[in-house]
């Protein structure tokens, strides 16, 4: 068979490409599924299967996820950061997205670029900068620790909120708000009763995306941590090389994976509702927008 044929014809069945894609997907996903599987291992190994048990989830009196305070505390810290970050970053980001879409005065162009920059800055640079600022400049008032970690997460989350919302905002014309104002609504009420309801699925998606990004974050959490109380689940995984890990670590990671995929599933649902309501907008645009 001709290799060139395999690469190109857009109308024939691509057996090679199809196979390549499925092998890729297996490579990308199966290792994680195996790691989840090992959380149910009966032995201490995370590599050799010794039978199924819930020992590392609930039964072991000291080391299981249920009983080991270190694991529980890491999950709690991850969730605290996630919830606080979405609660702070989403409103700021929504206002910024609306503002940047509709404010065309001096400074708006620069603000647009400023908003994009954190997305393309290596996180280590951002985290180092915030770490120095918090330890040397704002110390008694604002310092590393839980609050510092939240501040760091919010900083790189704001642009994601803007990106998720921007596309939706461009699609909304002034008609609804004009109608609201013609009917006598003052501007703020028109905004609240006409514009925000249309955007609400996207806003909801932004909440969920920020939450998922925050609980999966490692670098910022690590740089702004001050000790065991501020340790998150990704930090726990990072330090596992030094602590002779057991399958309870896999169980902990699995819990976070379920929570984060659940949040994203909800976000996808929200986006789907809005695109169905507007009856256009392919899922392509959504995927691309999730990316940046």
């Amino acid at each position: 068979m001709n290799v060139q044929e395999l690469i190109a014809n857009p109308w024939r069945k691509h057996r090679f490409l199809s196979l390549w894609t499925w092998v890729y997907l297996a490579w990308a996903i199966v290792p994680v599924v195996i790691a989840i599987g090992f959380s149910f291992n009966a032995g201490r190994s995370r590599s050799v299967w010794q039978g199924a048990s819930l020992q590392w989830w609930i039964h072991d009196p000291d080391l299981s996820l249920l009983h080991n305070p270190v694991l529980g505390s890491a999950i709690r810290q991850s969730l605290v950061l996630g919830v606080a970050t979405m609660a702070i970053a989403t409103p700021i980001g929504v206002a910024l997205a609306l503002g940047l879409a509709r404010w065309h005065g001096r400074g708006s162009g620069a603000s647009n670029y400023l908003m994009l920059l954190p997305l393309v800055t290596p996180e280590i640079v951002l985290a180092t900068g915030i770490f120095f600022t918090l330890t040397h400049l704002t110390k008694p008032f604002l310092e590393p620790g839980t609050i510092g970690q939240i501040v760091g997460h919010v900083t790189w989350s704001i642009p994601y909120v803007v990106v998720v919302l921007r596309g939706r905002i461009f699609g909304v014309g002034p008609e609804l708000e004009e109608a609201a104002m013609d009917l006598g609504a003052p501007p703020l009420q028109a905004l609240r009763r006409a514009l925000l309801p249309i955007l609400s699925p996207a806003i909801f998606a932004a909440f969920m995306i920020v939450f998922a990004l925050s609980i999966d974050d490692f670098v910022t959490s690590q740089f702004l941590s001050t000790g065991s109380y501020t340790q998150t689940v990704p930090m726990l995984i990072y330090s596992s090389g030094r602590t002779a890990p057991n399958p309870a670590l896999n169980a902990t990671a699995t819990v976070m994976l379920v929570i984060s995929l659940g949040a994203i599933g909800l976000a996808g649902l929200g986006m789907k509702i809005v695109s169905r309501r507007r009856g256009m907008e392919s899922e392509t645009a959504d995927v691309a927008r999730f990316q940046l």
Partner: protein, 318 residues
């Protein structure tokens, strides 16, 4: 006069519906936050690199006035990066090598996948897309942890290879092997490459391909002359978006080689300098190294920002 011009330049009635400056004030919290916690920290990094040791604590503190910057840390870092026997020279070259190999792997693995996904329609496409997005939302560290389990001496990979007779004894994948770190980087970042490329390939209009087809171009020629050039932007954007975090990555190398120095990247050097508290200038040197890193990637950053801004403008116009 000035007011009329403003209204016309805004070109829609929204400007008149809301009070003047309404949208500017809506942007203000976000803009102020980003200035205070993104722009200022950048300056603090440079100030820290030019800082001097505090006489009380013995630790470096940032010098906010550029006139008093101490250039010793900058000079040290540049020397160590440049000189062929410098401490950071080896690490820097290794980082470049790892990133280059990993990016090439990502392109080889990712292009066919993105191309295939963009050619699918309907239900099959939705399923593939969901699966492609999935790794994106699984914690990066969790995905690396999965490989630590697989690459152990008694892990699945070694058992498979010895079982098949390819290896006689288990290979120590996790003992500071470049090949492991490069594959780890490719594994970690390839989903981030596929998605923007997929978006670019999806924008290639079927009518172009039909036209080439009707004009008698072979399928290979159609691919080389139409699809490939039209996806160039997508490939470059994807490469930029994975290279940026790869240059600052330190956790992949750390997790996949038990923190060994043989596979340390620039990010690992930064990380260990920042944690150092016994030597006064460690943090200054860390700051100088971060500055060097930021300058290095700024080319990529600028490229990405400009091309994204262009794409956004085109999208909003249509």
């Amino acid at each position: 006069m000035a007011r009329r011009r403003r209204v016309r330049s805004e070109g829609n009635s929204l400007a008149m519906l809301y009070p003047r400056g309404f949208w500017k004030w809506a942007s203000a919290p976000g803009v102020v936050w980003l200035i205070a916690l993104f722009v200022v920290p950048f300056y603090v990094i440079v100030a820290m690199a030019g800082g001097t040791a505090d006489p009380l604590t013995g630790l470096a503190t940032p010098e906010l006035n550029p006139a008093y910057w101490d250039r010793a840390s900058f000079r040290y870092v540049i020397e160590q990066l440049w000189a062929s026997d410098g401490v950071y020279h080896v690490v820097f070259l290794r980082t470049l090598r790892y990133v280059a190999f990993a990016v090439v792997l990502c392109v080889i693995i990712g292009y066919p996948v993105a191309y295939h996904a963009s050619r699918l329609r309907g239900r099959r496409r939705s399923i593939i897309l969901i699966l492609l997005v999935l790794p994106f939302w699984i914690s990066y560290l969790m995905r690396m942890l999965a490989w630590v389990g697989l690459l152990n001496d008694e892990g699945l990979v070694n058992r498979l290879l010895t079982g098949l007779g390819i290896l006689e004894n288990p290979y120590p994948w996790l003992e500071g092997k470049s090949v492991t770190v490069i594959f780890g980087l490719a594994y970690g970042y390839v989903p981030f490459f596929i998605l923007p490329l997929y978006a670019a390939l999806d924008r290639v209009r079927p009518s172009y391909l039909e036209a080439a087809w009707d004009l008698g171009a072979s399928s290979f020629r159609t691919f080389v002359r139409i699809t490939l050039p039209l996806s160039k932007q997508g490939v470059l954007a994807g490469v930029a978006i994975i290279m940026l975090p790869m240059f600052g990555d330190f956790y992949t190398a750390y997790l996949l080689s038990n923190g060994r120095p043989e596979t340390a990247m620039i990010g690992n050097a930064v990380q260990s300098l920042l944690q150092e508290t016994t030597f006064a200038y460690a943090q200054s040197r860390g700051a100088a190294l971060v500055t060097a890193l930021a300058l290095l990637v700024s080319v990529l950053t600028l490229y990405y920002i400009v091309s994204t801004a262009k794409a956004t403008r085109e999208a909003t116009r249509s």
